[in-house]
């Protein structure tokens, strides 16, 4: 079992990555992890998902958006996060079910695609991709986030 917290650097572990340090086009480090039935069940509880919606030919699948809890880990392992990052949008494309009755070996990857300023704030856009261990594409996501130019200190 790989919990997202096993993969994701904590926001308070380091000063984090300022916006200008994100490198456009550079591949993010591959992120292998094991998605277990227990994680799927915990996720479904957390978003109150209806399991009956994800049954295909009698077999229980996971909500494909279960991958959302792993998405930011792909980026953060390459660029440790600052406190105060705010997600602005995301586009998901799902390609294949993830079965909920077995452990699935998955590899995450991606790259930063754009860095831009809007109303004086710095944003980055990046793509994350998830493939099964055998190379089958599971899902991809394009995410935009606001990245603070400085670290917010807790009072």
């Amino acid at each position: 079992m790989t919990r997202p917290s096993d993969l994701k650097p904590r926001e308070d572990e380091s000063p984090g990555t300022p916006p200008e340090a994100y490198e456009i086009g550079k591949a993010l480090p591959e992120m292998p992890f094991s998605l277990t039935p227990e994680i799927v069940e915990e996720y479904m509880t957390a978003v109150d998902a209806d399991p009956t919606l994800y049954v295909i030919d009698g077999r229980q699948a996971a909500p494909p958006n279960v991958l959302a809890v792993y998405l930011l880990a792909i980026l953060y392992r390459g660029y440790p996060p600052t406190q105060g990052i705010i997600l602005t949008d995301v586009s998901w494309r799902f390609h294949h079910p993830i079965w909920a009755d077995e452990t699935t070996e998955i590899v995450g990857g991606g790259r930063v695609t754009e860095r831009f300023e809007r109303r004086g704030k710095q944003f980055i856009r990046w793509q994350g991709d998830f493939t099964r261990g055998d190379g089958l594409a599971l899902a991809s996501a394009v995410n935009t986030m606001y990245v603070p130019a400085r670290r917010y200190e807790k009072r």
Binding site: V47, A49, L53, P63, V69, R155
Partner: protein, 115 residues
């Protein structure tokens, strides 16, 4: 097909999502910090709201959703503990998440042409 769902957001729900999400950003659990940042309270995780919106995609498209679902979400305003979060879809594939102060997120749920 139009769908609607009401969710009473609580700090316990945000904390539960935070545990599975592995997210330690204090904006999600430190009320005083969130207020100091100018918010009404702690913020739920944007991907948590997305989870509710994605469920509408599965409800609308069935098994096809897992093979060629496309979900777009733009987060607009925070969802805080105590909010009544309303997730709605419309016949033109739009999906919204609304709280009492206005639109929290909007987007679309549709199927890609290619598999």
């Amino acid at each position: 097909m139009s769908l609607k769902r009401d969710i009473e957001m609580t700090q316990a729900m945000i904390d539960r999502y935070g545990r599975i999400n592995g997210d330690n950003d204090i904006i999600h659990y430190d009320h005083d910090y969130a207020i100091a940042r100018g918010f009404r309270g702690t913020l739920n995780h944007g991907m948590m709201t997305l989870g509710y919106m994605a469920d509408m995609g599965a409800r609308t498209y069935g098994a096809d959703w897992l093979y060629r679902g496309e979900l777009k979400v733009k987060w607009i305003d925070p969802v805080c503990p105590g909010d009544n979060l309303v997730i709605e879809t419309t016949d033109d594939d739009a999906v919204t998440a609304t709280v009492q102060t206005g639109l929290a997120a909007s987007g679309s749920i549709r199927l890609a042409e290619d598999k």
